[in-house]
Amino acid sequence: MSILELREVSYVYGEGTPFEKIALDRVSVSFERGVITGLIGHTGSGKSTLVQLLNGLLRPRSGTVLLDGVDIWEKPKEIGKIRHRVGLVMQYPEYQLFDETVRADIGFAPRNMGLSTDEVEARVREAADFVGLGEELLDQSPFALSGGQKRRAAIAGIMAMRPDVLVLDEPAAGLDPLGRREILGGLRKYQRTSGTTVILVSHSMEDMAEYCDRIVALNHTKVFMEGSVDEVFSHARELSEVGLDIPHIARVALELQKCGVPLSGNLYTIEGVAVAYHRALVEKNGHTASGEEGNDRA
C-alpha cells in the first residue's frame, strides 16, 4: 500500500538557459506506507531533486506527485499544508536553527501550523523525546549544543509537525560511527513506535542495509531498481556494474563467490555474511566447521 507516489515525473533545472540540466526523467515510483525506504544513487542521480519534489519545494515540470492518491499540486495555494504532512529534513539541517531556545526552535513548525500553545508544547516534548534530547537542554540556546545535539534538535523540529511521511536527506552525514548509530537507530525506533513512513537518503550503503526495509535506487535521472533490502542487495553485482555503491561487506561476499565459496542468503550485513560463510564451511567439511558452534550474535 503506497502513501506517496510519483507518476511520470520530470524535472529540469535552468530550462531554456545554456545550463539546462535534466534532473529526473519520467520517474514513476511509489513509497510504501509505514516502512523505511532508502533512496540511493550517486551524486547527480536526481536524489536531492526527488526529495524536494515530495513535499512541494519543487514543482514537477510534468507528471504528478500523489499523496494518499491526491495530486499535491491540485491546489497550489495550499502547498503549505502538504509540507506539514510530508516533513523534510534537509542535508546538514543544523543550519536551520535560529530561535532563542531549543524549545522555541522545535516549536517553530507547529506554531506555523497555527496550533495552540499547549499543543505546541506537547509536540515539542514528544519530538525532543524521540531524538533523545533531555528536558534540561530545551531551555538552552540551540547554538550552545554540541554538533550531534544540534542535528537531533533540527530533526525534532520536523518531527514536531507529526508528518505522515518523514523524508531525511543524509541525516547522519559527517557524524562518527556512534553518532550515526544514535541518529539512525533513533529514527528506526521512531518509525516503529509512531508508524510514520520514513524515506531516507544516504550515501552509506552499510547504513542503508542496516536500517532500511525497502530500497529505491536511482541511476542517471531514472529509477534503476526498487524492492526490499533483500531483493535489491541480492543484485549487488548489477548495482556495482552501473557504478552504484553496495555495502562493503557485500563486495567481500561477491569476491568470495568469485573465489568459489558458495554463499547464499543475506549477504549485505556482517552478521549475514558470517552466517552464510559458516554455513558454507559446514556444508563443505561435513557436520562440523572448525568451531564447535558459536553463531550467538547472528
Partner: protein, 288 residues
Amino acid sequence: MENIIETENITFSYSEERGKQNPALDGVSVSVREGEYVAILGHNGSGKSTLAKLLNMILVPDSGVIRIGSDEITSPNFSEDDMFRVRRNVGMVFQNPDNQLVATVVEEDVAFGPENLGIPREEIRQRVDAALEAVGMTEYAKHAPHRLSGGQKQRIAIAGIMAMMPRCVIFDEATAMLDPAGRRGILAIMDSLNHEHSITVLNITHHMDEAARADRVIVINDGVVYMQGTPAEVFARVDELHAVGLEAPQDTELIELLRRMGLPLPAGCVGFNACVDALARLYEGGAR
C-alpha cells in the same frame, strides 16, 4: 628516520568551555616520522582536531612541548617568522571545502600560498601547474571554484597546500563532507602524496576504512592516546574500539566475528584483499 612531528605530554583546554575545566587534550605524546602515513582516529569531540590545530600553531598548548622538525614551536622565544616557516612545512586541509578557497579563479587560489611566501612569478607558475597536475585538476585552472563539486574544491585546496611544497600535510576530516566518489578521489591523492611525493601524511578521520590505508593508526579518546599501532594491531582489538564508539572496517569486523565463532582465522586481517584471501584460503581447506 627522523621525526617530523613530536609532542611531549601536551595539554590543552578551551577556556570558554562551560562549567568544568574539561581538557580537550590531557597529556598527549605522539611522534610522526618523516615520510610516514599516519591516521588519527577518534570520535567527534575526542580531541583529535585540537591536536591538529596545535601542530600548526593555530592553538597554543597550555603545557607540554611540540617539535616540528628541529623547531621547538612551544618555546617562548619562537618568533612569528619561525611560525610561518613551520606553516609552510606543515600544510593543512580542512573539513569544509567552501571555507578554505580564497580566490575567484582556481589557479589564483592555488597560487595564494606561494604568493604569500614571496616566491618569484615564474616559479609560482611552475608550482601551480605541478600542483594542479598532481591533483588531476589541470583542466579546471581557469574555472570559478563555486561551480565545482565538493570533491573538486577539496582537490583545489590540496593543490593550494602542495604549491607551498610542504614536508607534511595534515588532513583535518577533509573527507567528512564529501560524497563517496569525492572521498575516494581525495584518498587516492593522499596515497599518492605519500608514496610518490614522499610527503608525510597525517589523516585525522573517523572513517575506519581511511585509517586502514595508513602505515600507523593513533586512536585518541577523551584527550588521551587510547591505542596506537599498525592498522592490523589496532583493528584486531575490536572490542576496545567498540568501547569508545568506534568500529573496525567491515571486512575486519567480519573476520573478528568469525574468529569469535571459533573459526581459525588469523587475527588482525586488514584490507579487502587480505580478508578475502584469508576467508578463501580457509574455505579451500588450507586450515584443515
